[in-house]
């Protein structure tokens, strides 16, 4: 009986591998359409950044358990829930990293704008590729979430509720070694990407990354607004207030600048349009970076420690709505730069 079950499992695994092989072969044989979509450094950025973020928010034991559970290994109910959360966090991280990568590529293409118009436009279009990679990887990571939540739903309702409502008996642990490694990896990946891409400047000396990426008005507004909101919301150590505050200030700042762009189109010059667009791009970039570096890792650690599981709705809105809104605003910036509208009047 058990040998029949084993045979079935082997066939199942083999068929999955075959499907993947067919898919990859199809992609390779499809010619230039998919090869145009391949950009190695962007993919590496999203992958390594994702690893860094996973290490920032989870312990090695939790990550190992999540992989084991995703592969079908048996485990306790609480671990199952933590594993489902890990995969959801991984999907979210990839999505956010994709959007962050798109911002970095876009700003680099603009900051280095020393090619012809056609060349710059091409680089700007390619800057959206990391977002595509992030979404694909996010979808892949979402598959275990569906699987594990399905398994969790099989358990009696009472037990699930008990798990959710477990009081914060586990204290939030201070930084573990792997968390510090995660922070270092994330900062190294983002820093290296920014510095290396700006050093590819065609002529003259390389551009200063701080000059290109830091726009003081938006930095002051986003940081100041975040601190005010965190003080109002409270419970900064849980990370949730940081995530929400960064998302809110980033969104408010960029929407204000969006209105300024539209007004500048109708009544002012190109320089005002450029200044407003810089504010949009910079606000979104700083808010995303703040969420990923400060809010989300703290929140992940709090949640896996058994706290705040019931208060995820607002956080989820911030995790998914803000990156998508930021990507739409980036698309708006792309269109605005490349459409030859000077003044509406």
């Amino acid at each position: 009986m058990s040998s029949i079950i084993d045979l079935k499992r082997i066939w199942k695994v083999l068929s999955r591998i075959l499907i993947v092989i067919f898919f990859v072969t199809g992609v390779i044989l499809s010619g230039s359409f998919f090869t145009d979509l391949m950009k190695g450094p962007s993919l590496v950025f999203v992958l390594l950044g994702g690893v860094g973020m996973a290490l920032m928010g989870f312990s090695a034991r939790e990550i190992g358990a999540a992989f084991k559970n995703a592969a079908g290994g048996p485990d306790g109910k609480e671990n199952l829930q933590n594993s489902a959360y890990f995969w959801e966090a991984a999907a979210r991280n990839f999505l956010m990293l994709g959007v962050l990568g798109a911002f970095i590529s876009f700003v680099t293409a603009l900051g280095r704008s020393r090619g012809g118009i056609a060349n710059i436009a091409l680089q700007m279009s390619e800057s959206f590729l990391p977002a595509v990679y992030g979404m694909i990887l996010g979808v892949i990571c979402f598959v275990p979430v569906l699987k594990l939540t399905g398994e969790l739903s099989k358990h009696p309702l009472q037990e699930s509720r008990e798990l959710l409502e477990k009081p914060g008996e586990k204290a939030v642990k201070i930084l573990r070694f792997e968390n510090i490694i995660g922070y270092a990896l994330f900062i190294a990946v983002v820093g290296w990407t920014i510095i290396s891409s700006l050093s590819l400047y065609e002529s003259g000396s390389p551009l200063n990354p701080l000059e290109v990426f830091i726009y003081w008005p938006s930095l002051l507004v986003v940081l100041g607004g975040t601190i005010v909101l965190v003080m109002f919301i409270g419970d900064a150590a849980a990370g949730r207030s940081f995530t929400l505050s960064f998302a809110l200030t980033g969104l408010i700042g960029s929407l204000m600048a969006f209105v300024q762009t539209l007004i500048s189109f109708s009544s002012r010059g190109v320089r005002d349009v450029a200044s407003a667009m810089t504010f949009i791009i910079s606000s979104c970039f700083i808010a995303l970076l703040g969420m990923m570096l400060v809010g989300i890792p703290l929140e992940d650690r709090t949640i896996t420690a058994g706290k705040n599981k019931k208060q995820l709705t607002l956080s989820r809105i911030a995790w998914y709505v803000f990156p998508v809104a930021a990507l739409i605003l980036l698309l708006f910036a792309f269109v605005t730069v490349l459409i030859p509208v000077k003044k509406v009047v």
């Binding site: 002529s203 726009y215 349009v273 667009m277 030859p340």
Partner: protein, 301 residues
């Protein structure tokens, strides 16, 4: 009294005699303290560890020279500071600070608008002065009329027109005014007159746009006022030349461009001018000028 009860009392007495509770009070109190501490440690190991860490952090902040950080994290300081940050950011945005990114967006947007305005022009007139071989200057006068009519005049230094070329969709006609010979070719590539080679890049606005979008590499941009003029400094890597294109920022149409030999020591030109072009846009050009005709010894109007 029952027998069982008497047995219990006997055992109690025996135990009291053997394990006498005669510890000195000081030692007893110390033992009690240690027992309480041990129990606490066993009950709350995690909390204990946290308290230890917090204590260490507290000692680090309070004891060391980082008192200013603790002072900064006070709500009374943090709240007004963050509000000042927001206000300062908003004020800076309104006053319009310069940044590398904003400058790049501005340059790119301006060049996109220029490219669009040029490609939608109805007519173009430009006078070109070229430094040819043997330090001689050649002059051209190009007139272009939408959709596809061009007249190029090659002018001598004494203002006499030596040759005229008419370009239409069907054919290209070249008139030599010195010999009174009129000849026709089908394509621009078939023009073998060396004198016309310098003018072939500016036969129509679309040629200019093609160069702007493909060949030119932006190096620098400077602007005088919001509605005055802007100057792009552009490099043409294939020709090893630099080019300064001045644009009227009210109409976003080029008014002048100068071509220099690229000097690696200088960001902008100011060297020997290889080509100097002055543009006039959307002026009314009579259509009959675009029809080929030969007149001996024409002079430039």
């Amino acid at each position: 009294m029952k027998k069982e009860d008497s047995d219990k009392f006997e055992i109690d007495d025996l135990l009291k005699q053997t394990l006498k509770d005669d510890l000195p009070p000081e030692l007893e109190s110390r033992m009690k303290k240690q027992l309480i501490l041990f129990r606490k440690k066993m009950d709350q190991p995690e909390q204990q560890r946290r308290e230890e860490t917090n204590g260490a952090l507290r000692r680090f902040f309070y004891g060391g020279g980082l008192k200013w950080m603790q002072w900064m994290l006070k709500k009374q300081v943090l709240a007004p500071a963050s509000i000042i940050m927001v206000v300062l950011g908003a004020v800076l945005q309104i006053t319009g600070p310069s940044s590398v990114l904003a400058e790049s967006i501005s340059i790119l947007k301006t060049s996109v608008i220029v490219s669009d305005r040029v490609s939608h022009a109805e007519s173009m007139e430009c006078s070109i002065q070229v430094l040819a071989e043997n330090e001689q200057h050649l002059k051209y006068f190009i007139q272009w009329l939408s959709p596809n009519l061009t007249r190029v005049q090659l002018i001598k230094q004494n203002q006499d027109i030596i040759k005229t070329m008419w370009i239409s969709e069907e054919e290209i006609t070249i008139a030599d005014h010195a010999t009174n010979i009129l000849r026709k070719v089908e394509k621009v590539e078939q023009i073998d007159d060396q004198e016309f080679q310098h003018a072939l890049d500016l036969l129509s606005p679309l040629d200019l746009v093609e160069q702007m979008e493909g060949k030119w590499r932006l190096k620098q941009y400077s602007q005088q006022g919001d509605c005055e003029s802007g100057t792009f400094t552009v490099a043409i890597p294939e020709e090893k030349t630099l080019l300064e294109l001045t644009v009227d920022l009210c109409t976003f149409l080029p008014t002048n461009f100068k071509k220099f030999l690229e000097d690696p020591k200088k960001e902008s030109g100011e060297g020997k001018i290889l080509m100097d072009v002055n543009f006039k846009w959307n002026t009314s050009i009579p259509t009959q000028l675009m029809l080929p005709k030969i007149t001996k010894g024409s002079s430039c109007a």
